[in-house]
């Protein structure tokens, strides 16, 4: 009979003791620190990032001119690279609709359903672990800090997220763990509770301090949250979209377009999305096959899309508003092209809409 060498036995033992965690990575500092704290305890970590369509990452920097100079990087990927971990990015656009449209726990200050969103994401991580059971993930970590954000990160909410996501005591928040109940990995001795942290409150100082200790710099510290739904102006546009549709529903294109251009709704049945620079013009041009679009011919001016069911009788109003955003705004008359998908385009000559007649409430 063959017997195993001491080295082989040690290897088997160490493999048996090796635990793995999956970490929710947003691209911000907190999840980055949470992973590092757990890695320091010898746990192998992989990252998971959920793309809801509202994430601050990507997009607008690809669209607007002024952002072109900024380094184009996806912070979730950047964080994963700094930590030396794999990152799985999961498209949850469709499933997320129900979270945003019917949040059981309601919205935060704007259209952000943070508590439902956290429950949803941790639950998706639980599903991921099950689907990839062969890879042997034992627990989930997040960068949540008690009291950091008003809605989802109150101490009383932490057990709700653990319970309703189905993660239960397999959910570890390394940055606030000392203020929370013991979790399975702590009880089992996979990780040492004393080496976790007890951060609470809105101050970012302890995190910045810990980042320094780990030698992290250049990390992203988004002001609001991890997504556009915490932004007031974005939320207002989303609410307007639902009102106009007479239903709480959206497609990816709808929510992309909310990030682009100036939105002006002069009548209930349509709004104009008017580009603010050449980057946005180019982006909106990509939608010419699906939307009616308007652009000045006689003067330089922005590209504009018409969203909604515009009547032919409104073409003049729409064209005159678009005319006032171009170089012909002081001209007596501007000639514009109205491009209608699958129909011959129309040319219209009109006086630019007078500034004093533009109502403030038209601007979304």
């Amino acid at each position: 009979m063959r017997s195993l060498s001491v080295e082989q036995l040690n290897l088997i033992n160490s493999m048996a003791n090796k635990h793995k965690a999956i970490a929710l990575i947003s691209g911000g500092l907190d999840s980055m620190l949470a992973v590092k704290v757990i890695q320091e305890q010898g746990i192998e970590v992989e990252g998971i990032n959920f793309y809801t369509g509202f994430c601050v990452e990507g997009h607008t920097h690809a669209i607007r001119n002024q952002d072109k100079e900024k380094q184009k990087r996806n912070n979730a990927l950047w964080v994963a690279e700094q930590l030396g971990i794999k990152l799985h990015i999961v498209d949850v656009i469709e499933e997320y609709k129900d979270v945003l449209i019917n949040p059981k726990h309601g919205y935060g200050a704007n259209m952000n359903p943070c508590l439902d969103c956290k429950i949803f994401m941790v639950n998706k991580a639980v599903d991921w672990i099950e689907e990839h059971h062969a890879q042997g993930f034992d627990f989930i970590i997040t960068g949540e800090v008690i009291g950091q954000r008003p809605m989802s990160q109150l101490k009383a909410k932490m057990p709700i997220i653990a319970k309703q996501s189905g993660a239960n005591d397999r959910l570890v928040r390394p940055l606030s763990a000392k203020n929370l109940e013991q979790t399975l990995p702590e009880r089992e001795g996979w990780i040492v509770r004393e080496k976790l942290y007890g951060f609470t409150g809105r101050s970012r100082k302890p995190q910045i301090e810990l980042a320094k200790q780990f030698g992290f710099d250049d990390f992203a510290t988004p002001a609001g949250g991890c997504c556009f739904l915490t932004d007031k102006s974005y939320s207002d546009k989303l609410t307007d979209l639902w009102q106009a549709k007479n239903a709480k529903e959206y497609e990816l294109d709808d929510i992309m377009l909310l990030k682009v251009g100036r939105h002006v709704r002069p009548k209930a049945n349509f709004k104009l999305i008017i580009a603010r620079d050449s980057g946005e013009c180019k982006f909106l041009e990509g939608y010419r096959k699906e939307f009616i679009s308007i652009r000045a011919l006689s003067h330089k001016g922005p590209m504009a899309l018409v969203d909604g069911d515009i009547d032919e009788g409104d073409y003049d109003l729409a064209a005159s508003i678009v005319a006032r955003f171009g170089q012909g705004k002081f001209a007596d008359e501007v000639e514009l092209d109205i491009n209608i998908p699958e129909q011959p385009s129309l040319q219209i000559s009109t006086a630019p809409f007078a500034n004093e007649n533009m109502l403030q409430e038209w601007y979304l």
């Binding site: 990452e57 990507g58 690809a62 184009k72 990087r73 996806n74 690279e81 794999k86 990015i89």
Partner: protein, 75 residues
């Protein structure tokens, strides 16, 4: 070894990365994938994604309107 091509034009990041990832997950080690996209951010994001997940970038080129990246699926 076969080479597969995917066109991800007009998609905005991170969709090109997600589609690349999902395609690579269906491929075998050593196969090549050529990705065409229009979001300039992909020129950075796809190589980073490939690096951290153990795939090799064979080429990455940008023209005025397109980014074309070729990668080799890792083990």
């Amino acid at each position: 070894m076969s080479r597969i091509k995917i066109d991800l034009s007009r998609m905005l990041c991170p969709m090109p990365v997600i589609k690349t990832q999902n395609q690579v997950n269906r491929m075998l080690s050593g196969q090549e994938l050529e990705i065409t996209c229009t979001d300039p951010g992909a020129l950075n994001d796809i190589p980073v994604w490939a690096r951290i997940n153990g795939h090799q970038i064979l080429a990455a080129n940008q023209t005025d309107d397109e980014v074309i990246i070729t990668l080799k699926v890792g083990g």
